[in-house]
Symmetry: C2
DNA sequence: ATATTTGCCTAACAATCGTTAGTTTGGTAC
DNA sequence: GTACCAAACTAACGATTGTTAGGCAAATAT
């Protein structure tokens, strides 16, 4: 195939960039850093990508799509709000742990996106959080969850999970399901009216 | 006083830098950005500070000291683990909300510290987390808290709080005590054996 | 009144930044 | 064998980076 090597190289660039962006940050990582990490010259990168920011865009929006899709099936189900929240968190953690480095970049480097990408990104994030908020509101109206500030609680819940990529190592003693289970156990049993 | 104006200017530099570091990140903020934000030339900054990194060091270690001190009185008290955890979280949130911008920088820009400051910083952070972990362990041994992965839980707890500086605006509808109360309510009531 | 210090300035430095241009190389298609 | 093409290279660009040197004016100390 003609374009296969090129696609692979581009994918490799993105993966290596993800590692460096996580370790050093986007702004502190130069194209020369990235190139020498791969083993080529900086100028050669531009045979595969349009700009430094394009790399960040690909990392951020690919993951955004993954997060979005992970909720799709859950919202169609007919379970209680506690079940839905549980499943939503599991899905979220699964996306997180599938590529922890990309997740770390996603959560801490998005602000270096330029317009209009930045606005798009923030809209998607708000929508995503909104779907979690709706689960809490539904749970409250059906008497399962306490009355509380749903947005605040969702931010606290997601924040406690989203910090994970900073320390998660694949193959550790806690599997993605364990992590999601622990977190939702703490949160749901603290939220549920008893 | 001789040094008063100089100290004030230095303090102003640090405060303005804190704002820019929060908005743009440390690496993406140039000394010329900072200078023009203050209203002077970039070179003039060096009459007051030794280097760009010194600013970051001051921000990070000042806050680290605040966090450390905030726990001191609590650990000497004779309350139960649930009370201690509650108070520790309140203290933590109070430090956070006293200067949200500095807190945001503290949590996301520390990696740009150079050695030996970086190692010192991480050691302090580990010690601080360790004191929270100890509270959970004590609570478990005294039968108040479930058996769980204490380190994991503390990281989840602190992470859910530490994200706050990103969105907290002084004078909002939630006071520091409200925030700490909400978080600990969710966490403690989810943790306590019933 | 004079001497000293402070805080800013302009100018410039060496290094590094992202990126472009033009060229070479090695493999594939006709 | 020839034409083509992707992917690398070298070299360089203009801009920007953190920082230093040296000077100047105003405030302060003597």
């Amino acid at each position: 195939m003609i374009t296969k090597n090129k696609l692979n190289r581009k994918q490799q660039i993105i993966e290596k960039a993800t590692q460096l962006f996580q370790k050093q940050g986007y702004a502190a990582t130069s194209m020369r850093d990235l190139a020498s990490f791969i083993g080529i010259e900086a100028a050669s990168l531009y045979s595969h990508i349009k700009s430094k920011e394009e790399i960040l865009q690909i990392i951020c929006f690919q993951l955004a799509e993954d997060f979005f899709n992970s909720l799709q099936s859950i919202e169609l189900e007919h379970g209680g709000a506690d079940e839905k929240l549980q499943k939503a968190v599991v899905s979220h953690v699964e996306v997180l742990t599938k590529d922890p480095a990309a997740s770390a970049v996603f959560f801490s480097e998005w602000r270096h996106l330029s317009e209009p990408y930045l606005t798009d990104f923030l809209e998607m994030r708000d929508q995503y959080e909104g779907r979690f908020i709706q689960i809490l509101i539904d749970g409250n109206e059906s008497g399962i969850f306490k009355t509380l500030d749903a947005k605040f609680t969702v931010l606290a819940l997601l924040s406690s999970i989203n910090w994970m990529p900073a320390w998660y190592k694949p193959g550790g003693k806690l599997s993605p399901k364990d992590i999601a289970g622990n977190v939702t156990d703490v949160f749901i049993n603290g939220l549920r009216v008893r």
